[in-house]
Symmetry: D2
């Protein structure tokens, strides 16, 4: 454990990563650089500076990454209508590659030879952090304390904290959520506690970002989203940055009881786990993006995207954002968005996201003259359908004659 | 037009197919056999008998196909979590292969050499009827009057009806829906009218099978669905046939404002079209089936199903139910359902289908001992994760060393 | 048939397209523009000028498109290791989009409102020409004489030619091949005649571009191909243009008995057909490209390409070169080739293409230090494999405990 | 290391597994059961009995598994036209699941709690053995000595052998192949030595199962293979068991210089490696099976098989034979073979496998009446093609009108 000289730690300022900070210094005899990022988790990051300073850290990185996160990670993912296993909007997964990238960049800047994180050995996050780090800095050392140390119970952690003068906010610790939680601009997640029984319904007071549909207003909220090349650029006529799009949608959708999900997912490390998620903005974005694509995307392009989406979602879920196969798929997905320009009108009401209109002046492929049930003035020749059907049936007819 | 001796007509008893009936006799000088099926469209089929008799038809088939439809078409399709273009539950598409099959069987029984239907030359239904018919009876003649005749306006139709003494229910005709509608046990659909503008919101009074979420009860309805091999076999402990499962769910879900969809879809014949659909039971079934699969299906099986689903959905949408490729896929889908046994608990509330629990005594792959955030008594060795990550990262590291 | 004013005809100068030329003038009373291209079919194109002039054509286009064909069509296709139904190298399919594009461009230049071609109503080529034309000039009229006229036998054609003073080269007609043939830089194809019996072996004297393996030299030919971004840029150290790469490889591979294929394929119009093909250069290019990719492509990128290749091949076979889905896939394929740089050494011998070496100084992902069976000085830690296997096995073990 | 009481060892009788045998006894203090199988590797298995007895083994399993191997593993795999990364016929991969299954069955019979094998920690075989074992007996212990011990050089192995009186056949050891080799009924493989340089050509005397094309007879060999449901059941009219089909084809194809492959592959554990393979029978089987499928398989079934094949091949390569996803795919593949019945005629000549005919009395979908270039008496109406093309072009035309 003696080779490491300097390690960059993904540091939240909380108790666990404070213990890790101390443990790294002690176990590896190395210097620790802390990195704390605001990716929209809804908690102040500045307090982490004082805590790190109090623990003697000399190199402290505190950064607001919300715009980069929304623009370069969340938005590209939504261009693909990404959803894992039919339900999960990948709110945790998509935040990890950015953290991994910054850990590596800071390691390069500070001359650190290792990075460290607070993810356990059972989950997906360790994989996402480490695959990203290895892909970007192949010789980096990764220290995952939860896989190494013996502080594997709450008691041992508390006693370690006490022993090493790590301040414990007992008030906070006392009312600690029974759930393991994680949040960023895209979602907040809940695992553990009673959720470990998939038959048990989560308690009402678990949810934090949205009201229950029952508690949402009786009057719907109507929104108009403007898209350019597959990304939302304005809400109700007001141009917004990606992060502001997301915080705005989180607020209005959450207030309308939108975005709760409760599911059992398959982790990359091989087990099933139960998770509850609140993804208000993401829920709206998925529905609205599909609606605009339905108007502006060629059929076969849309179908090809749909066929590849599960693969793309798995790559992100499993931690392969920084892989050549994800980048190759992204090239194709981004190319498909050239014409995804226009407006989507939505109604938000007690948990429902209802599309009430979609339009695109320049890029709609909806041709009313052809689609109409009325006279179409020759735009479409119904007689063409006979040949179309006959030749599509030909192989079936030959087979039927031979075999049936 | 003189070769045809006898034709089996898919006959609803309505004005349009009554005109077709007469037109077939006149244009082809052939005998017409009528076939009218109850597939859950919610209208009596017996009146069609009197009408056909009144028009001199000698061979009249009137059948209740609801159970066959639910059991052999709808249920197999839902085993695949089928959804077309991310939104459409294929309510029209899945009913057509059964009609096609019965048309062909009746043609064989009655010695008819042709079949006929009332679908237009612009839509998908003509394709579905005819591909099915050709696959099952390769030398059958298909007569699609809408592609052949010149009765291409409402006026011409009415005047043809008048001229040939076809009774027109003017009361009904007067209050005719502005929409083109189609219904069966799985859904009711609306096309045409103001829906031809994708920016226009459908009027409230268009919807027939569900209340608006706003008008749904303030108290949720809780349901428990029991599955065997991927199919629902009981609701709230009461064993039910497939068709009764569907009518029960239609009723309760529709009353809770569930199942409305408003979308733009890509037709097989090459155009985009706008459709609105009410699929109360189907909306519940999709959500609940996925929930039980999340507990009982192996990860890679689930992912493979997800990757193939869009293809399977397109096959059904495009009319290839009676094709060897659909049958081949079905073999695989059905095989995957062996362990999809158990219970799903749902809450229905104002448009929302909320899964609140899933369990499977015999077939759950959720292992609480492994998944737990608490001490797991060695069920899972966190140290294994290091090797797992290292080898999954190996190719990325080699590439990074060479190239970055 | 009176609306057409001017039509651009894909004109070979042969008897059939000369008859079409006359027939178009007569049937449509329109002016005809001829377009004749050298795409490496191995026949002079200039004689077509005199023939067209003799028939009174005023606008005559004769073009050498070999470089454009090789560079913008054949090479991009080979970047994907494209092969249709496991056997066919798409030699006919890939030539059609270029012809379609030039027909449309010439129509635009000459103010023509229609195009015409000599492909029959049974084959794939009509589809390829017409889909391309419609995609590039959506309002173009397409005239496909073989689907329209009644000159559906050799006798009627000859009598039409005689009647209209179209010169017939009886010497050539007399020794006419019993096969329907088509050639370009990528291949020569044979259909019809005895090939219509799939049990019949083609006669030895059918083949034109290659010797039989039995007749090839007893000494192998060794070649070194240099690739840049997936394309061959030099042979045996000599830099060459794409078309010259192909003609060079056709010559040397054909002389070594390489490139014959005899197969039954599934046409897009629904029937199976037998075809024989000689694709000497293409056979070498496919094998060599894969060899270099095996060294320079990431595993998952290569696998994704392999999974999408059949789709991409079908798009080209079916005539969808000028479609957004093909363009989208091409974006991804081209992006994958960034690192496909290096050398491949081949041995050609009596029908065999044998890869004897592949190297890439800058882009190889083959790491001898890790791959070695000898001591690897810690480049790879064998203990990592245990965790890798354990976690990959976890879902299998959980299922086995529950179910077996 | 003391928990293990009895271990079943995959024992070849050679030096390495003899050392493992001794090392297991010593390190684990456990009893060893040996298992030696004839899977067509071309070496006697009976001598392993004497060697095991000499080392004091009490439970010795020696089995001839050739028929089971060919019938239940190789043949099912070839039904899918399986090929990994475009080149590799999976000769090693497909043998491992059978060994894993027998190891587990013998463990169950003998009450052993562990299994052991001689595969290294760098390769794919460890994964294949262990995933299979874990899937079939989830609580089995797996001992992989090469990942555990420190005998990581030839010298240490020899000195361990000497120290423990393990007989070393020095004659054999002296002329030891410089390659790491593995053989079974499907192939023989070579890795290591000079092959670790992908630019180096293998030496002529490396190859053991085939002559060089240059050394093959000047006269071709003609063969007729009869298939039933996708499997070869007779050669030249003589009915044969699966294993005899393979040994017969190995002999005749090897004598004609067929089946050599030299490639760089991507291992599951993350590295690229060079391998040379001789797969005479397999090379013939792949080509012939495709030929018969080209005649008897529906187009869309064939295409779907082609699209899924790379996934299926990866599953086998990576060791997931005993997984639910492989079993699910197999269900579909097997279902597709119902009509793959008939004859294929081949010519083998100096490395070439040339299909010269394919026929199927009952199951051919090749319809000469429709495919013919001659008059078809109305079997196919060329006019149908116009509507077919027009509707397939519709989406392209709409897009072109809007956008170009």
């Amino acid at each position: 454990m003696s080779d490491i000289k300097k390690v960059v730690l993904a540091y939240s300022g909380g108790l666990d990563t404070s213990i890790i900070l101390k443990w790294l210094e002690q176990s590896y005899g190395c210097e620790v650089v802390t990195f704390t990022a605001d990716i929209g988790q809804g908690e102040e990051v500045e307090p982490a500076r004082a805590k790190a300073e109090a623990m003697g850290v000399k190199e402290i990185y505190i950064e607001d990454l919300r715009e980069e996160y929304a623009r370069d990670y969340v938005f590209p993912m939504f261009r693909a209508n990404t959803i894992y296993e039919g339900e999960y909007l990948l709110g945790t997964s998509i935040a990890r590659p950015l953290i991994a990238k910054r850990l590596v960049e800071i390691a390069n800047e500070t001359g650190a030879d290792a990075i460290s994180h607070g993810a356990t050995g059972k989950g997906n996050d360790q994989v996402r952090f480490e695959l990203g780090a290895y892909a970007l800095k192949p010789d980096v050392k990764v220290i995952a304390p939860w896989r190494e140390w013996d502080l594997n119970s709450r008691e041992k952690l508390m006693s370690y904290a006490k022993e090493h003068d790590i301040p414990v906010d007992f008030a906070k610790a006392g009312k600690k959520s029974p759930y393991s939680m994680d949040a960023n601009l895209l979602h907040i997640s809940y695992e553990g506690g009673i959720l470990e029984d998939p038959w048990a319904e989560p308690e009402d007071d678990m949810w934090r970002w949205s009201v229950a549909p029952e508690a949402a207003p009786d009057t719907p909220t109507v929104l108009e989203l403007r898209y350019e090349r597959g990304d939302i650029v304005a809400i109700d006529g007001e141009t917004m940055s990606p992060a502001r799009v997301m915080s705005t949608l989180n607020e209005v959708a959450g207030a309308n009881g939108i975005g709760r999900d409760d599911l059992v997912e398959n982790r990359y490390v091989g087990m099933k786990s139960r998770g509850c998620y609140e993804t208000p903005a993401g829920t709206v974005m998925l529905k609205a993006h599909r609606a605009l694509e339905s108007l502006t995307l060629d059929r076969e392009v849309a179908h090809l995207k749909d066929e590849l989406m599960p693969k793309y979602a798995s790559l992100i879920y499993n931690g392969y954002w920084w892989s050549p196969e994800r980048e190759m798929l992204q090239t194709m997905i981004d190319a498909s968005q050239e014409h995804v320009n226009g407006l989507v009108r939505l109604k938000l009401y007690k948990g429902n996201v209802i599309v009430t209109g979609r339009q695109s002046d320049s890029d709609s492929l909806f041709d009313e003259k052809i689609a109409t049930f009325e006279e179409d003035a020759g735009a479409y020749d119904q007689k063409d359908a006979e040949g179309f059907i006959k030749l599509n049936a030909l192989r079936l007819r030959i087979a039927a004659k031979r075999r049936r």
